[in-house]
């Protein structure tokens, strides 16, 4: 899928990004997309769920809560 996105940068920043992108043999938009993905990957929550074991552990917590919650509901008068 290709979509046109517009965002504003000052000309100096655009030149700088363009040079870095060229050095990496990428188009400016490709380089910007990769940079945005790399920045998002720094998010601790994203990193935690980025592995199978991390995701399984997370679902384990959800399941544990669900079981405790169901038990609590059953005990309610």
């Amino acid at each position: 899928m290709r979509e046109r996105v517009q965002f504003l940068v000052d000309p100096a920043a655009k030149d700088r990004y363009q040079r870095v992108a060229l050095a990496e043999r990428r188009t400016l938009s490709e380089w910007l997309r990769r940079a945005a993905d790399a920045a998002a990957d720094q998010d601790p929550e994203r990193r935690e769920l980025a592995s199978r074991s991390g995701l399984e552990a997370f679902f384990g917590h959800c399941d544990e809560f669900a079981e405790r919650y169901a038990a609590w509901k059953d005990r309610r008068p």
Partner: protein, 155 residues
Amino acid sequence: MIFVDASVLESAIGPAGTAREEAQKFFLQSLDRGVPLVTSAVTLLEIATALESSAKSARSDFLMKLVRGRMHEVWSLEAEDVYHSQGLRFRFPDLHESGLVKLAACWRRGVEEIYTYDGILRHAASAGRRGTRVSGGDRARLAQQAWREMRNRDP
């Protein structure tokens, strides 16, 4: 790119049952396959509204963690989505308002697959244009039934 609907996100963090097993399996498989997952702010609002008030705090924490951790992108609701959704109303009269908006958003953005346990949305998406794929198979159908029961049980 796969659009993940409220029913799947809600089931993955919800009570035990077929829907939960199926939804968690879907997330694990999509991680293994490296498929980018997307959803919409409309989906998150839909789940937040449906969560039981006594479990809302914990479950919405789980939901946000799953969304931040696994969703490649969460689409904002755009006026254009609502505009397009109104054009779909007569074609899919059984589809609820948020379903129309989600379907319009998926079609506008060229999504290849919609993963949902919502039978009406599944039907509309598969009957629609561009051959949008929807999740299939017996397990998904069982999950759909389990999700509907969960929604009925938890007011």
